[in-house]
């Protein structure tokens, strides 16, 4: 079954791949970061095409918003220009194997997808189906219901994880006590 407009899909996919390549290939770290932001936005548009508005919003807000801003801070603090990573690349030989590996990865994944991916018919009817839930309450409510009813334990664990991460960041960010 087909979801989404083919033309939109094509444009989005080209943009996503291009921005991904930009992340990988730009010399300037800030350009890489900007490409990543673009890529994240493209992905959010993908989520919209997949009829998941809430998740798309979250993606833009949190990922492209908060996380990338943090990245921006660090990048501008540590690597403001391209000259910081000058110097002979001691592992130049790794480019070849890396390319090959990427091609293999992509290729085998694509082969696997084309061979084995199963598209089941969407269950358009039925009380538990996604479609009915979304039809009934909107996808935010569906999301919340699933999160707090089915996935409450992971939710709580995630909160603990976030706590630990905050503590870790604070500890790691401290300057050494001897220097005042």
């Amino acid at each position: 079954m087909l979801v989404g407009n083919p033309i939109a899909f094509g444009v989005l996919s080209v943009a996503a791949v291009a921005s991904a390549l930009g992340v990988v290939l730009f010399r300037n770290a800030v350009y890489c970061m900007l490409s990543l932001i673009l890529n994240l936005l493209m992905l959010a548009l993908f989520f919209l095409m997949l009829e998941a508005e809430f998740v798309a919003t979250i993606q833009v807000l949190i990922y492209a918003g908060a996380v990338m801003v943090l990245f921006l801070f660090v990048v501008t603090m540590l690597a403001p220009d391209a000259s910081s990573t000058e110097g002979r690349d001691r592992l130049r030989w790794q480019i070849g194997p890396a390319l090959g590996l990427a091609i293999i990865l992509a290729g085998s994944l694509i082969v696997a997808i084309l061979n084995g991916a199963v598209a089941s018919d969407a269950r358009k009817s039925g009380a538990g189906s996604l479609f009915t839930q979304v039809q009934a309450n909107g996808d935010t409510q569906a999301f919340g219901q699933a999160l707090f009813h089915g996935f409450s334990f992971p939710f709580e664990a995630t909160s603990l994880l976030l706590l630990v991460a905050v503590l870790g960041a604070v500890v790691l960010g401290r300057r050494l006590a001897s220097r005042d």
Binding site: R90, L91, Q94, P97, A98, L101, I104, L105, S108, L109, V111, A112, N115
Partner: protein, 679 residues
Amino acid sequence: MQNLTWLILALPLAGFVALGLCGRVLPRWLIGLIGCGVVCGAFVAAVVDFISTLGMPATARTVDTTFWTWLTSGGLTVKFGLLSDPLSAVMLLVVTGVGFLIHVYSIGYMEGDAGYWRFFAFMNLFIFAMALLVAADNFLFLLVGWGGVGLASFLLIGFWYTRPAAVAAARKAFVVNVIGDVGLMLAIFLLFITFGSLAFADIFSKQYVVFTFAPHIIAPASLLTQIVLIPSVTLTAITLLLFAAAAAKSAQLPLHVWLPDAMEGPTPVSALIHAATMVTAGVYLVARCAPLFGAAPFTLGVVGVVTGLTALMAATIACVQTDIKRVLAYSTMSQLGYMFMAESAGGFSTGIFHLTTHAYFKALLFMSAGAVIHALGGEQDMRKMGGLRHKLPLTFWCFVAGGLALAAIFPFAGFWSKDAVLGSLLARGTENHGAPLWLALYAVGLLTAGFTGFYTFRLILGIFWGEYRGGEIAAAHGAEAAASRPRGGDNSGNGKTARDPLARVHEVGRAMSVPMLVLLVLSVIGGAYGLPWQNALGGFLQPVTGAAVELVTSNPLFYVNMAAGLLAALAGFGLAWRAYGARAASFIPSRNPLVVAAEHRYYIDDLYDVVLVRPVVWLGVQLRRGIEGATLDGGTRGSGSLVGWSSGVLRSLQTGYVRNYALLLFLGAAAILVYYVIR
């Protein structure tokens, strides 16, 4: 009367164990007491046994006491038992008696030596092993005793083990002895195959039917158990192997090379082991197996030829030796040849007779030589002696007595025994079907007698006559100081002063002189039990060794033989007097090629060295390099270095770069992915 043979073995063994375990801490007098006491006890037991054997009727003099069964394996049953019969009684008397005298002598000779306790422990071990050899009633324990005396000889030759010459000599003696041991073992195997048992009673009591082609025997069953069919090849093989063992132990050609080197040991060792007892084990073996040898004429011929050659060769070498102990060693070799020659002619009891008299006078000669060496502080070279008869009168007369007995001068003991030996050869040569071989051997024996007289007199003149040729005698004298001093050292630095260089030379103490005197008496009268008119010894030994082969006293050849032997010896004396007595000893090296060859012992040692020793050593070195070095060591070291190399290779994976590790990670993931895709 109770048979006391077990005591003869038990006492020296107890002495060995006691001295071996505690000797280090015991006081000297106690060590000497234990060492000599046990042998004295053994001698007393041997005397008691002898007397009781005499008391039995002549035909029933064998007492075979079995103590327990040693092993039963398949068809072989071996019991540990001791035999007490005329032959073993005579041998035990000689071994324990002369052994006891030499133990007493050692108390004086080895005084001050650091290994005093070790010496007596080993000497007791030797007496035990020799007694076991002689008293065993089966071949297996004879072999045990055989090996035991070889071991004791090794330990005692290398007694001063810090000297490399002594260690090398001990090793040489042991290696050559082992060759004989192998011969004995092979003979034992063949004996077992032929007879099914190793006990003397089973082997020597049967009638042998020797055949070349399998005979067809028709006989009643009762007779069949008393006869043994032996192929003549087997019998010849057995007897030749037995003779090979005897030749190794008794230093006959070609296994004689160890005996002169064995003089590196202390003089009492030379006296006991290499003159009186151990080297006579071969003679005993042949005499014990007299029934076997009697049925193998080919072997007897071989024995006669080989030992005759040995006797002559050894006598000639003794004529040019300058070390007094080596002269006596070659003399022993020559006299042993005489014993074997008598046995080869069938006179087994004659051989034993010469064995006993030789024990007396050779032990006496070695003891006297030891006294001289002791007095001169370690000097053994004849060229540095001379004129000692005024300083050492007792030693001089002992030496003279022993020498006269050795050279077979009437009426000393050696005269009667050597006369009997030559007589048996002549008797075999002139009997009805006598082969000319025996006459040839008789001639060899006469010639050797001449040489014997020559070197004996030369020895006596060289040590005791003329002017003293040596240097200053150093202060320390004693057995070990003698050993540690380099021999032949010329201390003539102070000889120019008018001081008498022999001022500190003195006679031996009582511990050494009393045994010498006892042996002197025996050397004079010891021939009494073998006098030809009665031949008490021959009659005594007859049940074991068979009838003595001798010239009948009514035969005119008897007196011709006596005169010939005496004349040969006196001729030797005369020649020696001419060369060494009249003028100051002419020990100048001679250019005569025969003399030079004799001085190099006819190059036999060099021949062995080139043909046997060097190839074996080369092979050993190659094996060490090739197998042990390259293969085994290389293999273990190689596997170690292989592990090291491979871990070095693996270590190169740990580059430390994060990106490399990431590559490996992704490689693994990609591999799994590809695997599932392909599947």
